[in-house]
């Protein structure tokens, strides 16, 4: 049971508040109870206090009056002028209704004059004041007055009660007025503001309930602030939906752009591929004579071996077993020629650029096979220095070989042109600090500057007599399409290296 009560209490604060009274009613109750309590307290104490106060005041006045009588009587007392004293006593008593009895005695206590209003037994509430008549230090007598205070105190109590009644009534009246105004000025307005805020939270809209014109200034300010808040909220909501719309639009635009870009990229790639192919054809064209010679050698050997076999068969002296070696040689040489042709066909073939896991060392070795004739032509010593093991890279084998071939041929041609000796071309593979695979093609041409070397990357710029001048720029675009980088370094004397990196697969 306690659990459910707890849950109910904690999950529904609005409902919990239902049990509470509105502020104005709380204030009214507190004020009423306070007023009642104060009234009871004051009503109980006031007559007593008033009586005490009156008594003190009365005593003071009574003593003053007694002293006055003494002053009037002093000379008559000194000479004990009884008729004069009797006159004093009667005249004094006549002045004040509260005097019940008045008596003057001489220093020996004998009564010189006396006056009394009622019989002593009838007196109920008497205050006695006395004043000794002293002249130059000698006492001559005493004036004693008995005061009847009954009527006076009764009147005072009635007076106080009436006052308390009016005070309490006016306080209760003020409480009522305060509560009413408090309700009108404060709690009613707060309620309206509260309803507006609730509506703002649930419906995201501000109610049109206006505060009473006489609401407290602070509350009017608060209401204004709430309105401003609501407007700000609405503006915010609007801005939010606008932003969402714009994001959607932009997303659609971007999608289109991306599709377009993809298409362009594909086209670029295709063009690049086409260009690379053209380059390969161009390279092969340039290498055609050398390659023809390369093919020609095994073919010549095949022809020789074949003619020899024909001779032997025509003489009829030979045995089939004797021809076996020659035929095997024919097969080997023909295979060799076929191999070269296969390589060329592979190199110039227009295949789709496939990105696969490539063994860079194997690719280099294969490319080197196509360079051997040209190396001999240019009297270049071809040196291959491959790191082992070397991680595989992600790329296209033919394109990587195309880059190596281009760079190697450039190097050989450069050494040949500026007459460097000895001519050494080194193709080196290694792993960089960042883990990528680096391929470097070193030559030892003289005096190449970094600026002139960099210029070689520009399209259609070539120092060679043949060729399109596209080689290095194609190489760079190939490398970059593989996610790598191609650059050139030189020591300014006799070591120039074209290097490129390829990311590991």
């Amino acid at each position: 049971m306690p659990l459910s009560t707890n849950r109910q209490g904690s999950t529904d604060p609005g409902r919990r508040n239902h049990g509470r009274w509105p502020l104005w009613r709380q204030i009214a109750v507190v004020l009423s109870v306070s007023v009642f309590a104060v009234s009871v307290l004051v009503g109980g104490l006031a007559p007593h206090i008033e009586k005490e106060h009156l008594s003190t005041t009365f005593h003071r006045n009574a003593e003053r009056a007694t002293a006055l009588v003494s002053a009037t009587a002093v000379d008559a007392v000194i000479v004990e002028d009884l008729p004069a004293l009797q006159t004093v006593v009667e005249q004094s008593a006549a002045v004040d209704d509260d005097i019940a009895a008045l008596k003057i005695t001489n220093a020996d206590g004998y009564v010189l004059a006396a006056w009394s209003r009622k019989a002593a037994t009838e007196r109920t509430d008497l205050i006695t004041t006395s004043h000794e008549i002293v002249v130059a230090g000698q006492a001559f007598g005493t004036v004693m007055i008995e005061w009847d205070t009954e009527t006076m105190f009764r009147d005072a109590e009635d007076h106080v009660r009436t006052q308390i009644f009016f005070v309490v009534a006016s306080m209760l009246g003020m409480t009522a007025i305060f509560t009413l105004f408090g309700h009108l000025l404060v709690t009613a307005s707060i309620g309206k503001i509260d309803r507006r805020l609730r509506r703002l939270m649930t419906e995201k809209k501000l109610g049109e309930e206006n505060l009473p014109r006489y609401a407290a200034r602070e509350l009017l300010d608060l209401s204004l602030s709430v309105t401003k808040l609501a407007k700000a909220w609405e503006a915010l909501e609007e801005a939010k939906s606008d932003l969402e719309r714009r994001v959607e639009e932009r997303t659609a635009e971007l999608k289109n752009e991306i599709t377009e870009r993809k298409r362009t990229d594909e086209k670029t790639l295709h063009l690049q591929e086409e260009l690379a192919h053209v380059d390969r054809l161009s390279v092969m064209g340039e290498m055609a004579a050398g390659l023809a010679h390369e093919i020609n050698q095994p073919l010549a050997a095949v022809v020789n071996f074949a003619q020899g076999c024909v001779h032997r068969l025509r003489s009829g002296k030979t045995k089939p077993g004797e021809l076996l070696d020659a035929l095997e040689q024919i097969s080997v040489q023909a295979g060799r020629a076929g191999e070269i042709i296969h390589r060329i066909r592979g190199f110039i073939g227009k295949e789709e650029p496939r990105m696969t896991s490539v063994d860079v060392n194997a690719a280099i070795r294969e490319a080197t096979g196509l360079l051997e004739f040209e190396a001999r032509e240019h009297a270049v010593t071809l040196n291959v220095d491959l790191a082992n093991p070397l991680p595989k890279v992600k790329g296209n084998t033919i394109q990587i070989q195309q880059v190596v071939l281009n760079l190697a041929r450039n190097g050989m041609e450069a050494m040949s042109e500026n007459g460097s000796t000895p001519r050494l071309l080194t193709i080196r593979s290694s792993v960089t600090k960042s883990g990528a695979v680096e391929i470097a093609v070193h030559d030892n041409q003289y005096g190449a500057s970094t600026e002139s070397l960099e210029l070689m990357f520009e399209s259609f710029l070539t120092t060679k007599t043949g060729g399109l001048g596209l080689g290095l720029s194609i190489c760079r675009s190939i490398v970059e399409s593989h996610g790598g980088r191609l650059w050139v370094t030189t020591d300014g004397v006799n070591d120039t290296a074209f290097r490129f990196t390829l990311p590991v697969a």
Partner: protein, 282 residues
């Protein structure tokens, strides 16, 4: 029975002998006045306080003196004669009257006037009055003081009769009671002349009352008297105390400069004036 009596006597005696005398010697001092009684109290209380102190020292027991004021000569005299007051201070005429009725009253001392026991009485006229001598008073009105006053009646009337002016020679006369009343009446022109003591005359002149002295005659200062049967030892102590009073404050309040010794014989002249007063009225 004898033993019981002896014991009783012994107890009474020892109680009286060994217990300190706590009860004061309570005396009453009578005085009459035509002035404001409370002023008279203020005049005499300081000197009585001093007297109490000195007398107590001399007598060896605490002496207390209460002042009893009466409004009239005869009341005051009556109290002394009947022994209702122990001490009194009278004017000479009252003393002589009292002495006649109670011969055993005794003088303790006389008030001093600059060391003497006499002072002056005056007959005064208006400052602008044509009267130049006592004889000129014939056919004029005259203001006397109290009927029992020495200056106010007896000495002035004696002086007038000695200078040939008798009551029948006057156009009229009245007893006005007080010395200052006499002076003011003359100054106001109500009477052609009047008798009053010198000190009052001087005070009135100083206040601007138009008065002129016509004649002067000596008077004896006032006696301080003890009643009949007053204990002699106490009377001596009081006399000694009075003569020794030098307290300036108390004397100033009293209006005198001290006390001097006095006898009944000092008033012989006045007594004669009283006895011969009838001659003025013939």
């Amino acid at each position: 029975m004898r033993l019981l009596l002896f014991v009783t006597v012994l107890v009474l005696f020892s109680s009286g002998a060994f217990l300190p005398a706590t009860a004061d010697v309570a005396l009453k001092f009578g005085i009459y006045t035509a002035d404001k009684p409370s002023d008279v109290v203020k005049q005499f209380r300081p000197i009585l306080d001093v007297l109490e102190k000195k007398a107590s020292e001399i007598f060896g027991e605490p002496v207390r003196i209460r002042l009893k004021v009466t409004k009239t000569y005869w009341e005051g005299v009556d109290l002394l004669i009947k022994g209702k007051v122990d001490l009194a201070r009278f004017g000479p005429a009252s003393y002589i009257a009292a002495k006649e009725k109670a011969p055993d009253i005794t003088i303790l001392a006389l008030e001093s006037n600059k060391g003497r026991k006499s002072f002056l009485g005056l007959i005064c006229v208006h400052a602008d009055s044509p009267i130049r001598s006592v004889r000129d008073l014939k056919g004029k009105t005259f203001a006397f003081g109290n009927e029992r006053s020495t200056i106010g009646r007896y000495l002035s009337q004696l002086y007038l009769s000695d200078h040939g002016v008798r009551a029948s020679d006057l156009a009229g006369y009245e007893y006005l009671g007080r010395h200052d009343t006499v002076g003011m009446a003359v100054a106001a022109g109500k009477f052609a002349a009047g008798a009053l003591k010198e000190s009052t005359f001087k005070k009135l002149v100083a206040k601007g009352h138009p008065l002129r002295e016509l004649a002067r005659f000596p008077n004896v200062t006032k006696p301080w008297i003890a009643r009949t049967g007053f204990p002699e030892k106490l009377a001596n102590a009081l006399r000694e105390a009075l003569l020794a009073i030098r307290d300036p404050k108390a004397l100033k309040a009293l209006g005198k400069d001290g006390f001097v010794e006095g006898r009944d014989g000092d008033y012989a002249g006045i007594r004669k004036a009283i006895r011969d007063n009838a001659a003025f009225h013939k």
